[in-house]
């Protein structure tokens, strides 16, 4: 028996979870490509953890279907999860046991070879020297790392990490990002659930944005960020004339001012580079000195806020 070689490591169709009248996960269709870092991004209470819990068989879906590593869940849950490492909510351990003992407890629930992976896993996350300390003495960052080590006991093809950056300092976050990228480099897939836009943007290749239980949009980070209208920022000797000159360019949708100068919003179909060239040429020909011109790329954060605020208005 071996793992399926399907293109997607996670596939869901119409996955729904209700608690009473409340729909927490609402008809989610998700496809997570193999060998990538995939962000599952949404505000708190968007249903991210509930979706992960359903994937892992911790709670039953109300309706819909899902598969992990090409195997239907829950029908082949045991086989599917054999190569999945997961942290749900936050890494929790027996505080009275040492880090090493906690891993041995989890290894006991896995295949016999998992026990041989305890030392390499502790080493990989930098906890080998503290492995014999009680977990109750661990910092949040150390617990997060121990959580990753527990995932590695499965020698996973897929790691599902729920808010793994919570409680980490900037250095810890940087270390985590590197760790996640190294997993992807080894051919593993990492699903990162988070409300931290910046972290998803820095760490992941693709993302699904979820709000109020629904996946609003999914695709590569680049695709999603580029979906927003781009703009040019100009610093010139005469902002008022600059606005008038820019406004007549066919690529321009709107012109405004802020503290840094003139902000030129471009039409969606316009090429930012082409617009920058024609506007700068027009300014120079009109005798306006151009000190600075910047093509502003929309961040995922801006895109996220745009999407979720639009939903908020619609609701």
């Amino acid at each position: 028996m071996s793992t399926s070689q399907s293109t997607y490591v996670v596939e869901t169709e119409g996955l729904t979870k209700r608690f009473g009248d409340k729909v927490v996960v609402d008809g989610v269709d998700l496809r997570i490509p193999r060998g990538s870092a995939f962000g599952y991004l949404g505000p708190n209470g968007a249903g991210k953890t509930t979706l992960i819990r359903m994937l892992l068989g911790l709670t039953e879906p109300t309706s819909g279907s899902m598969s992990l590593l090409g195997r239907p869940v829950p029908a082949e849950r045991a086989a599917a999860l054999a190569r999945v490492g997961a942290i749900v909510d936050e890494p929790r351990f027996h505080g009275h046991l040492t880090g090493r003992q906690n891993l041995s407890v989890i290894a006991a629930a896995r295949e016999p070879a998992a026990r041989d992976r305890i030392e390499p896993a502790l080493d990989r996350v930098g906890l080998a020297a503290r492995g014999d300390d009680r977990v109750s003495e661990y910092s949040m960052g150390m617990r997060q790392r121990l959580g990753i080590a527990s995932c590695l006991l499965a020698d996973p093809e897929l790691l599902i990490l729920d808010e793994p950056m919570n409680g980490l300092d900037p250095a810890g976050m940087q270390e985590f990002r590197e760790l996640i990228r190294s997993f992807v480099g080894e051919g593993r897939t990492v699903v990162l659930s988070s409300h931290l836009l910046d972290e998803i943007e820095r760490t992941c290749d693709a993302v699904a944005i979820v709000d109020r239980g629904r996946v609003v949009v999914q695709g590569s980070i680049e695709e999603l960020a580029s979906g927003r209208d781009r703009s040019l920022r100009l610093a010139t000797s005469d902002p008022a004339r600059s606005s008038l000159i820019a406004r007549v360019d066919p690529a321009v949708q709107e012109v405004s001012h802020d503290s840094s100068g003139v902000v030129v919003a471009l039409r969606p179909e316009a090429s930012a580079e082409q617009a920058a060239a024609t506007i700068s040429r027009s300014l120079i020909e009109a005798g306006v000195d151009l000190y600075e011109l910047e093509i502003a790329h929309a961040s995922l954060e801006e895109r996220f806020l745009e999407i979720t605020s639009r939903l908020g208005v619609a609701a």
Partner: protein, 276 residues
């Protein structure tokens, strides 16, 4: 490690170890034996209780031989067994309740489930894991009581070998039943403290009260503790206030199986159905 190395890796065949395995039971034992408070309390309630009781009897005898006979002998063994059974029952409840709710209260249950292990096997592994801690303690405590009863008997009648062996086996059965009861209730409720509170109330208050009624026909036969005492060697039953209750072996076994089936069945059912 190359990409191919990761994605071509075979999935282990789980069928061979789907049943509660030795490693899972070992892990359960590890979780319990490393709880210092639990181990010390259980030792105090088992071995400690016997040591204290016989030490007091010995000191009384040594300081006032005329007023207090030898510390050992059959009568003191009966009394000692009744006390040891009551105290050790609490140790069984402590260990059973901790075993049943420990993973849940620590938030580790979902980690274990995320491995793909079945909920049933995770539940069943708690039984050998918990008994591996409880029964050695109970056996040592009983052994001390038996040795003291014989060695310190002086001119008093001593309990016989067969009687001691039967009493020991009965005592271990009693402890096993109380552990299973606590494990089932704790797995059902998901709370160690609530389980200890409820069972302490039933076993230390309700059961002795019903026993004290000394009257058949009040449903006392259906109480687990009373039915278990009916299984004890006849001489040992003299140490327990069971009144006029007399049950057939079939009735005793039926009560015992019913309690275990309900407790373990409900605990297992809740473990399988619980949202993690």
């Amino acid at each position: 490690m190359s990409t191919a190395a990761v994605i071509d890796r075979p999935i282990p065949n789980r069928r061979a170890w789907e049943l509660p395995g030795f490693r899972l039971a070992q892990a359960e034992f590890l979780k319990l034996r490393t709880r210092r408070g639990l181990v010390l309390a259980s030792l105090a309630l088992t071995v400690g209780g016997v040591i204290v009781a016989y030490t007091i009897l010995l000191v009384l005898h040594l300081t006032d031989p005329a007023g207090h006979g030898p510390a050992g002998g059959q009568q003191h063994f009966w009394n000692g067994m009744y006390m040891l059974t009551a105290l050790a029952t609490m140790a069984a409840v402590l260990i059973g309740a901790t075993s049943g709710a420990g993973d849940l209260s620590a938030g580790v249950f979902r980690n274990l489930l995320s491995t793909g292990r079945s909920r049933r096997s995770l539940f069943l592994a708690r039984i050998p894991g918990g008994l591996a801690l409880l029964l050695p303690m109970a056996a040592v405590a009983y052994g001390l009581a038996a040795v003291a009863a014989v060695a310190l008997a002086g001119n008093l009648p001593q309990p016989g070998t067969v009687y001691l062996v039967e009493s020991g086996l009965w005592f271990l059965l009693y402890m096993t039943a109380m552990f299973l009861l606590a494990l089932g209730v704790s797995s059902l409720l998901g709370s160690r403290a609530t389980t200890i509170g409820i069972l302490a109330g039933i076993l230390l208050l309700v059961t002795p009260m019903v026993q004290g009624i000394h009257h058949p026909g009040v449903g006392a036969e259906s109480i687990l503790g009373i039915a278990l005492w009916q299984l004890a060697p006849k001489q040992l039953q003299n140490g327990a206030p069971n009144g006029d209750i007399h049950m057939s072996l079939a009735a005793i076994v039926t009560v015992l199986i019913a309690w275990m089936a309900v407790a373990i069945g409900l605990g297992l059912w809740r473990t399988v159905k619980r949202d993690a």
